[in-house]
Amino acid sequence: MANPASVNFERDVSKALNDAQLRSNLKKAMSSLSLKRKAIFPDKTNFEQLRSIGNSIRRRALSKLPELLEQLEQKCTANGIQVHWAETTADANQLFLDIIKSHDAKLAIKGKSMVSEEMHLNHALEENGVEVLETDLGEYIIQLDHETPSHIIVPAIHKNKDQIARLFHDKIPDTPYTEVVEELNAIARTTLRQKFFAGEIGISGVNFAVAETGTLCLVENEGNGRMCTTAPDVHIAVMGLEKVVEHLKDVPPLLRLLTGSATGQLITTYFNMITSPRKAGEKDGPKEVHLVILDNGRSKMLADPELRETLQCIRCGACLNHCPVYTRLGGHAYGYVYPGPIGSILTPQMEGLDRAGAMATASSLCGACEEVCPVKIPFTKILRILRNESYTAGDSPHSVKGNGYKKNLAESVVWKGWATMNTSPALNQMSTKMLGMIGAYLPKLGPLKNWTSVRTMPKFAGKSLHAIAKERGLSND
């Protein structure tokens, strides 16, 4: 799944749809997450007000992105945090390797981070002889099974406790089979404690980076993130360059929106704000803190006035939980690390439409994602732009990587004809009349055959609405 070359969206979709266990695991989990979110934002007016604040904070940050990143770098550096920049995921992985090698370290302990999944960081480090251990319980579970996360917040949500029980029993030495969640939890605690003790390098993501103070904020419930950022000698944090916010006072509303939208919590167990490595006289904390800032296509998104809204995302996962497509497929069928509505708008822009354009089709455009999005990302607008871009190259205001991959003469001709028919009154009148007469007898070929294989063919009315209105003497207004 980690290898994009193996992505076959149609095949993986039908595999997911036919997996009864997966469907039932997902259905239970997604409806529960939706209900929890609803309960934490009970008042529509308050929620709208709060998300207007969130939207404004994120838009303001994006409008000043270069200066805020420079300010962040300057503040971090002054605080003793070493800042590194990476254009591509390969560059970012190399930065990690260089830092780790400079300490001769062999064991890295890692907190949950989606951007590190985007980089396939674990793979890059392991190839170079560094053991990387995921310490978030969900991430630990899927790492044991050599899988990728299927959800950006609850990565092992596709598995039920029986499957996890079997996995622990098979993969962790001397572990009895148990389906009791508390016992599975205890097994993970004991196993990982030794690693927290021994870990030389701690790796984390960043939820918000505050330019004003050079502070890295991390949101979590388990305490593994605190372990990774406190116990080892070296902490390396990695963030997509859009994660920066201007002021410290921007943090509380975003935090409230993030935890409420993600898991229906007023606040997570821990909110961890890191502003420097261990200072003179302090008894613990890493002696070195590094921050890797990754671009990987984000600066290109920022250049497009419409597509840049993708970068407002705070990675809460609410769009996944409410998406009728995601809740039936789960994350793996999408083939890339970011699934669901956010993945469908983000991944094609990162990977190119020619590779990941199919993801933009994985939506009914119902708009549920837009209704719940805590920062008001216009998902359906962006999805439509990406779908159009799939057919357009050269003559569009957008220039999404890999665009025009679906462009073909037959479709161009059909759509040109459609446009002409609907912009010329005489042609329109004639063709609607014709369809009324012969529509039912059209041969079911090509796309029409595909369409009607699972749907009833629409019946064309004998008379158009326009004609009926005219007969009844209704005027245009």
Binding site: E87, D136, L248, R256, L266, I267, T269, Y270, D295
Partner: protein, 218 residues
């Protein structure tokens, strides 16, 4: 590689920003939430308890007795404390032989890591609390290091009631945090927890299994 990457990324970002078209809607102000001091205590206590913390509200004179009762009824072998803080000095002066052994965090982690990871409880002060979302604010320091509230099995936190703020935003501006951020600040709202297996909420994953809070009221 890095310096080139920095320049290329920033150049692309600057030219992206020059494309313009940024619309930044006026954001409404954050709703002002205010409770009376008594309501703040009640709300914080209630929310922490919902998250499975144990909360005692006690006066400055009686809280130590409540702590002793707690320690005597729980089988804890030792308690980690910060000898140089006012709280630490109080604890040392009232400690009794029949209580768990009081151990000071007075070396660097390198010198005592094994012992730290084996501690049964850690007792810390707090910078304040947040009534709205139910959280403690911890401000670790030279005297009171970061791991004290993380590696022991039980975290005991002591909070002055008049340090409870209505909201996180209010705490930020009251303390002028933007001008004096320390190495690490933490908000803590309960014992460590997870719902990663079938969304079943379970407590005590990697951090403390129990959070015990003493709110000191007048």
């Amino acid at each position: 590689m890095t310096s080139n990457a920095r320049e290329s990324v920033l150049t692309r970002l600057r030219s992206a920003v020059q494309q313009g078209g940024f619309v930044i809607p006026d954001a409404p102000e954050m709703p002002v939430l205010e409770w009376t001091p008594a309501e703040r205590i009640d709300r914080l206590k209630g929310l922490l308890e919902n998250m499975h913390a144990t909360v005692y509200v006690a006066s400055h004179t009686e809280w130590v007795e409540r702590l002793k009762e707690f320690l005597k009824t729980h089988s804890l072998g030792n308690v980690l404390y910060a000898p140089e803080t006012p709280l630490g000095q109080t604890l040392a002066s009232v400690w009794e032989d029949d209580l768990p052994q009081l151990i000071g965090y007075d070396q660097t982690v390198e010198e005592c890591k094994e012992q730290l990871f084996a501690m049964d409880a850690g007792i810390t002060s707090t910078w304040g609390g947040i009534a709205e979302t139910g959280a403690l604010i911890l401000w670790p320091s030279v005297q009171e290091p970061r791991l004290m509230s993380l590696v022991p099995t039980v975290h005991i936190a002591v909070l002055e009631a008049d340090h409870i703020h209505n909201t996180f935003s209010e705490a930020l501006s009251a303390g002028q945090w933007q001008d004096n951020m320390p190495t690490n600040v933490l908000l803590i709202s309960g014992p460590s927890k997870t719902a990663d297996i079938e969304l079943t909420l379970t407590f005590g994953v990697h951090g403390p299994k129990e959070l015990v809070v003493f709110i000191l009221d007048q």
